[in-house]
Symmetry: C2
Subunit: 321 residues, 2 copies
């Protein structure tokens, strides 16, 4: 192949970027244990249940450390509400769910609780029993029991990350465990992943000093991991990525470009201000607007969205049989 061919160059650059990203990342803590847990989960859910589909839901934002002994970091805003809610609907649809979430963000079944449910929802009685304050009684009990049931049945595996390094290392590890699933694997990549980072070796070792004048920073682009995910890690899987923008015009253009460039099955386009009311599902066959049912106060946009995805994933699995 001609080395000056545009695509060749692009792929070449991208491979080099990804290799150097992983080579220079600080090693993932507990990698062996995460690998073991993930493989046991895949084994249980794919070998014993031949038709069960498995989804990786990523959720919350990644941090980008600015110092090796990290005091400061850049963060991407994401409460993890979409990921946590979607995980619930995937479980309800019979999927086994790997929930890769940012430490401290929303958990499945807990989205309608206050920020600090322990102190805001619970009370200790004179007899030293714990009770739930109204109006949270049912919500709190359901949250606890649904979470425990999903985990103890072995259909929900929760893994957490904080930095961009941990997120991408986990993604690679989980994707490689899922590669044997073929088309039964679904990637639902709702995490808000940083586009920019400071390579570990060029990072300040100590805290950046504030003594004099403004701070100038140069951040490098994070290599486009979706390209490798699709091409090398999960060529047969159903892959869904997300775009969040504050400007609607930019949003649809970028979602369409991502669909093409990374060969996704769907790109979910979110506008920051309206993302809880509607999303646009961008596919090769056209765009589908998905809205929450506005006749029900407690309806969310994830319910119709996951229904649509489950149908499309089923169709894709059948067409590959």
């Amino acid at each position: 192949m001609n080395a000056s061919n545009g695509l060749g160059d692009f792929e070449e650059t991208s491979n080099v970027g990804i290799k150097s990203f992983f080579d220079s990342s600080p090693p993932l803590k507990d990698a062996a244990e995460i690998k073991k847990k993930t493989e046991e989960f895949m084994q249980k859910n794919s070998f014993s249940e031949k038709t069960r589909r498995i989804v990786l839901v990523t959720s919350g934002g990644t941090t980008v450390p600015l110092e090796q002994r990290c005091v400061r970091y850049i963060d991407n805003f994401s409460s993890g509400h979409r990921g946590a809610t979607s995980a619930e609907y995937f479980l309800r649809a019979g999927y086994a769910v790997v929930f890769l979430y940012r430490e401290g963000t929303y958990q499945p079944f807990c989205r309608s609780l206050p920020n600090n449910p322990l102190l805001e929802c619970l009370e200790v009685t004179k007899e030293s029993n714990i009770t739930v304050r109204p109006p949270y009684d049912q919500t709190v009990k359901k949250a606890i029991s649904n979470s425990h049931v999903a985990i103890s049945c072995g259909t929900l595996l929760k893994l957490s990350f904080t930095t961009i390094f941990e997120y991408l290392q986990n993604l690679q590890l989980i994707a490689s465990s899922m590669s044997s699933l073929g088309s039964r694997a679904l990637f639902y990549l709702a995490a808000a992943v940083s586009d920019f980072y400071v390579p570990w070796e060029s990072m300040a070792v100590h805290k950046i000093q504030s003594s004099s004048g403004p701070l100038d920073m140069r951040l490098a682009q994070v290599p486009k991991m979706l390209l490798v995910l699709r091409r090398d890690w999960a060529p047969k899987a159903f892959c869904i990525s997300f775009k969040l923008e504050t400007d609607k015009e930019i949003l649809l253009k970028k979602a369409g470009a991502a669909l093409e460039k990374y060969n996704m099955n769907m790109v979910i386009a979110n506008e920051l201000l309206t993302r809880k009311e509607e999303v646009i599902v961008v596919t090769k066959a056209g765009n589908i607007v998905v809205q929450r049912d506005r006749t029900r106060a407690d309806a969310d946009v994830e319910e119709p969205l996951i229904n649509l995805i489950v149908d499309e994933h089923s169709a894709a699995c059948k067409s590959l049989e």
Copy 2:
């Protein structure tokens, strides 16, 4: 006064910087309600209890938004463990505590619980009652009841912030409510406050695009609010600020400089890696090393630290009587 006088220039610049910081900040949400709550709290604890001392404990890190419709921000690492723990000891020493904390960080009485106590510590029984899993039984019950008691007795007021704008606006508002307390007021400023920020008016309105090349950012210095706190907002209060560094040599130099420059009563010097074992209390009379009691596994450094502070604050109150 000669305009070229060094100190004059410095104060002039600092006043201008602070005025322009507040003028250009997005308005604080619920400012009127926060003011009302704070003033009621001061009234209750200072007028009805003439000798009660009141402390403002700030805790957790501030964020610096990089975009007006915020997707990305810079954050300062801080779990809020020190602030939350210190608040407990101040309550125990008879202080009324205003706890100004970063949303999502540690709360007083909850520091020995897992990250997600609701799901990790609680269970729903077959009879639909809530019980606590061992070994958390006593810890969880104590956390809930101690928190509720402090709040319902009116000795603990909790207020939260996320951005550097919200933090400094809250600080100004609370300090002005505390100004009538004179020497009975204590400021214990343990929050990790950003040194750099992006002024609101020069901030990108929409999400910064990642399409081409590296990202260059220029951050401005946050004006030194300690100077105004000491000089204008709380001239008679006992003021304690914190320094956290990863390099010990820089640490003591900077702590000493801060003591002088901002006329603090104490600066607590923390080294990132050893901060749970010991801190150095830098005062005009010399440095005091405070260590946790290593003969007790559950002993913390905050217990002797707060004991020392309470003594010093008592002495300072007496000397001003």
